[in-house]
């Protein structure tokens, strides 16, 4: 069944220079395996299109039922260089939450 990622997870994102990290947290423990299966680093990289110009790394935090994604070259040069509305990637977590996944 197709669902929005937002239905089974919540997220927080922020910046480190031109890197953006997005922490994705399963709302319930049984959703964590779905995150592991559906959210590959490559899928997240493709999803962000030309807004993420570098690699994406995925880290697993089974203890928190969470994944951490690090997006390189994802903030148009970083907070004070970026010309985007959201210069620090604060809303990127919500952008990811609207991804359609198979549950």
């Amino acid at each position: 069944m197709k669902r929005l990622l937002w239905d089974i997870a919540h997220a927080r994102s922020g910046d480190k220079g031109d890197l953006c990290n997005i922490g994705v947290i399963a709302r319930r423990p049984e959703h964590y395996p779905v995150l592991l299966r559906e959210l590959s680093a490559e899928r997240v990289r493709v999803y962000f299109g030309d807004w993420c110009r570098g690699a994406v790394q995925r880290y697993e935090l089974a203890n928190l039922h969470a994944l951490n994604f690090v997006l390189h070259s994802a903030l148009d040069g970083g907070a004070l260089r970026s010309l985007r509305l959201d210069r620090q990637g604060k809303t990127y977590g919500f952008a990811l939450m609207r991804m359609e996944i198979e549950v």
Partner: protein, 463 residues
């Protein structure tokens, strides 16, 4: 330290997440219930270059003056209860900040208050020397050599750890003011001073780092900016800032004052644990490398979350240096276009402005258009409007980057004329349609320096 003190938890409160956070948070943390120490973070990555410019204009400036504004109303209570205050509000000029704190204390009649000054993080004058002696200061992410942008370097500060803060506290400082330190050091410093954790007790240090990480962003861990269920957060208008009740083992309970709004749950703590981290197995600080995958959370209910089991390993042999580099100028046009064809008219405005730039010789390094209300924040991730739907209005934003300040200023003067000389149905953007402000671009340049090249200093200023 007596035996009873060792078994009592040590309560550290967070009261500032950045320069500009709520100025009454410190007073609320001090008045709202028992706390032993309060940490206040004022420094974002780019704050140091702003403070350097202030310092260049005035040798007594270059630090976050908001700190003294927050401190003054509760200084008497802080002195009376012996609450320790630790802050990086010193920025580029911790000595001047400490002197301002001492002056404030004298004004209120408190003589003999010891204010610790932690410095030695500022490497600006040593950049060439470091580069000449084998420290490349190459960009940590891109590998680019600093030499390529050397004339544009505006500041260079190493991230210091918790040791010098602990030293200042052991020397009797009631308030400690630092320059650039890791945010977590503002919590670990008082913990080291209180519990006397051994230098190589990596697990306890890592627990202190995790406590600091949870406290450093103010209300963001206690109900603010909480994606995982924001409608359920009670009384955000009086949100309680966080408190860590730390045991001698390093385990701690994250909570807030009972009377305050907001909430502390496992989910709110998880969001903050994941905030601005890279590899969770190796959260690097000068004091230890913390493993966030070892953290155990237990939601005890009633706004109490227990954090235990944190593992640490030795820190890296190098410190992170935050260098800022001047990188040109930017400005942005903002105009509202209304129904009908708001999107098409916004696109026409973009083409018109680009054509004007060409005619006037305004050289743009880059430009970027946001259609706010359509795709401003989420760009390529925002789905298209359903076919046949027209937005009621669109806020057109066109941001540009120029090498030369005059070109950005000339662009800024081209924006408002569009109200009379552009596509129809335009209203001025927010800010009542004055000319947009031109801002300098400051690039953040992370690099590494060997620990042996950095020499933290501690001194005490008395009121």
């Amino acid at each position: 330290m007596t035996k009873t003190e060792a078994t009592e938890p040590y309560r550290i409160a967070g009261a500032s997440g950045f320069w500009g956070d709520r100025e009454d948070a410190l007073a609320e943390q001090v008045r709202g219930g028992p706390v032993d120490a309060v940490m206040l973070d004022y420094l974002a990555e780019v704050t140091m270059s702003i403070l350097r410019r202030q310092l260049q204009r005035d040798p007594k400036a270059g630090w976050a003056k908001d700190f003294v504004v927050a401190l003054e109303p509760v200084l008497a209570l802080i002195v009376e209860r012996g609450i320790r205050i630790v802050t990086n509000a010193g920025g580029m000029n911790p000595r001047a900040c400490a002197e301002a704190v001492a002056a404030c204390a004298r004004k209120l009649g408190h003589r003999g208050l010891a204010v610790g000054v932690v410095a030695g993080d500022d490497l600006f004058e040593r950049v060439d020397d470091l580069m000449a002696h084998g420290t490349s200061l190459a960009h940590l992410d891109t590998g680019q050599a600093l030499a390529e942008v050397r004339p544009h370097v505006q500041s260079a500060n190493a991230y210091l750890g918790a040791e010098p803060i602990a030293r200042a506290l052991r020397q009797g400082a009631g308030i400690v003011v630092t320059g650039r330190t890791t945010d977590s050091a503002l919590a670990l410093g008082p913990l080291l001073a209180h519990f006397g954790w051994r230098h190589d007790d990596w697990d306890k240090r890592a627990a202190g780092v995790v406590a600091g990480h949870l406290l450093e962003c103010g209300a963001q861990v206690s109900g603010g900016n909480f994606a995982g269920g924001w409608p359920d957060v009670p009384r955000l208008e009086e949100v309680g800032f966080p408190i860590a009740e730390v045991e001698a083992s390093g385990d701690f309970v994250l909570t807030k004052h009972a009377s305050s709004g907001g909430m502390v749950t496992a989910a709110s703590v998880k969001e903050q644990l994941l905030y601005e981290i890279g590899d969770p197995r190796a959260y690097l600080t000068p004091d230890t490398t913390a493993d966030f995958t070892s953290i155990r959370l237990d939601d005890l209910g009633a706004d109490r979350v227990r954090v235990s089991g944190v593992k640490g390993t030795p820190p890296p042999a190098q410190l992170k240096v935050s260098i800022t580099v001047a990188g040109g100028f930017r400005t942005a046009a903002l105009l509202t276009f209304v129904w009908p064809h708001a999107v098409e008219r916004a696109r026409a405005a973009e083409q018109l402005l680009l054509a004007r730039c060409q005619r006037l010789g305004i050289e743009l390094e880059a430009h970027h258009v946001d259609l706010i209300g359509i795709s401003g924040a989420h760009g390529p991730m925002a789905p298209a409007l359903p076919a046949g739907t027209e937005p009621n209005e669109v806020l057109f934003r066109m941001a540009v980057r120029t090498r030369d300040k005059l070109h950005a200023e000339r662009f800024a003067r081209e924006v408002v004329p569009l109200l009379l000389a552009g596509p129809p149905g335009a209203a001025a953007g927010p800010g009542l349609g004055g000319r947009p402000e031109v801002q300098p671009i400051i690039d953040f340049w992370p690099a590494l320096v060997p620990v042996s090249e950095v020499h933290p200093t501690v001194e005490i200023v008395e009121s």
